[in-house]
Symmetry: C2
Subunit: 306 residues, 2 copies
């Protein structure tokens, strides 16, 4: 990647979530993998969003996304209701139950990229059906970096399409249980070795409150999670991690060992803010100065070199 | 602490362990908190050991400990058998069952420090009954740094004695479930805040394969565990962590933010080697050069500053 200030194209879901956690509850907050990713990435670079919403999608949310420098040319609006998800987190917030899921207009999503997006050099395929992720890839003609996420459901139910996609993915971002499931290996190092053979050059394994590990053929990087006393809502933390990471890489203009490590810390920073309030509420009042201050706190948290 | 190359005094158990893990098994290997701590610390500083063994304790093990620069003047030998423990680890090696426990001569342990130990400036009270830990403290007259470990059993069954001890402890080293149990707080930051109010200035929370967090009133340090593809036997990893930490602090001669952080990484290094073979087998063939090389690998693993 040679251009600086490149934009990031992201495809995924936009939803309204109703969430109950041990800390409280929130109804109908803006969510979905594409929303979390796009808002997190927007702290670093312009974002081109590809998603679908219903005719109920409020102008206020469009205005918010627009205010973050997010291009909505690829946000398809169709008659009907936007995707809705209702979930409840356990006392151990690593565990949650889906209480209700209404795909609504998302059920017929077939991503179609506007002409203005087709020269995007960075794309992130947030968690949707692997066939749709591949369909987005085929519409891009200047790709330099392809990132993807997935989930247990696709690993189990659509493995062939996922493996086909992975051959074209540069950076896969999944959590530790998904890595174990995809590879059949319980040990995280063995799992990473196996997944790198499926295609990606870089694997990011997210471990929630324990941080993240990044593997490539000849390098491992570890970053802790920022220790938080009050976690309000973990929804979207992984998508914000990926958004911060890709936004930071787009801003750096080059993908090398140094920019990738800084980008992973930027991902950790955005994820740490995301969980401090319901939905995107914390990110709605976040500033770039807050981001930079917490990046410095990550340096202080991990430094034993000086 | 102003002297350099200070020695570390440690009290704890010496045992013979028979261990079964998903990777294999080993019978009657040298173990116990005091053995693990002492051998790990000996890579950095002289160690004064306080423990009890039976008349069955082999000369070969004495010779090994002696070869590591460990002073055995405080290793009491009495008629009878040495402490024996038999345990089996689950596929998830964070879980283990005790199959057999024979305290033997350890049941009557009442630590008595040789005169030559009484000016030790650093002491580590490895996991034994809190009353015995306090008894050791009262025999030391030049203390600069008091470290301690404990376990779920004492937190439940001997809480008053433990709290009394903690008032005199500078650095408490426990694992995450013990921190939650001691504080009654599930969140690790809240748990740390609560435990720091019990006496220790510094709290080290060990999180197994996820690394460790160090808390003090105004500082948090996080270090990942070294990612290992093959973990053979987790027994003693926490004691080796504490041994590496205290040995490194003794060698540094000063306890400040920098030496403490380096010492915690040294603890992580020793713990990472310890689990690579049964009992102390890996440490028996370890060199200081291996230790320094893995310390540099920890720098490479965590660095995003340059």
């Amino acid at each position: 990647m040679s251009t600086s200030a490149a934009s990031v194209c992201v495809v995924g879901s936009v939803a309204f979530d109703s969430i109950e956690t041990p800390s409280g509850s929130a109804a109908d907050v803006l969510g979905g993998s594409c929303s979390y990713f796009a808002v997190a990435a927007s702290f670093f670079a312009p974002v081109n969003m590809v998603a679908i919403v219903g005719s109920d999608f409020p102008q206020a949310e469009r205005d918010f996304l627009d205010s973050r420098g997010i291009n909505l040319d690829g946000l398809e609006v169709v008659d009907g209701r936007t995707f809705r998800w209702t979930g409840r987190y356990h006392e151990d917030m690593n565990v949650r139950d889906t209480l209700d899921l209404q795909l609504n207009v998302f059920a017929d999503f077939s991503p179609q990229l506007p002409e203005s997006y087709r020269d995007s050099e960075l794309v992130f395929l947030a968690n949707i059906q692997p066939g749709l992720q591949s369909r987005v890839l085929s519409q891009l003609r200047s790709l330099k970096l392809v990132g993807a996420d997935t989930m247990d459901h696709w690993i189990d139910e659509d493995r062939d399409a996922l493996l086909e996609l992975l051959a074209d993915v540069d950076l896969l971002s999944i959590n530790d249980s998904e890595a174990a499931q995809l590879s059949g290996e319980a040990n995280v190092v063995a799992a990473a070795r196996s997944i790198l053979e499926m295609g990606p050059d870089t694997l990011l394994i997210k471990r929630g409150e324990y941080g993240a590990l990044q593997f490539s053929a000849d390098d491992i990087f570890a970053v802790p999670a920022y220790p938080l006393e009050h976690v309000i809502d973990p929804t979207g933390a992984g998508d914000c991690f990926a958004g911060g990471l890709f936004g930071s890489l787009a801003a750096a203009g080059e993908v090398d060992r140094k920019s990738l490590r800084r980008a992973i810390v930027h991902g950790s920073v955005l994820a740490s803010f995301a969980v401090e309030d319901f939905g995107l509420n914390r990110l709605k009042r976040l500033t770039r100065e807050d981001v930079d201050a917490r990046f410095r706190q990550f340096m202080a948290l991990t430094d034993f070199h000086g």
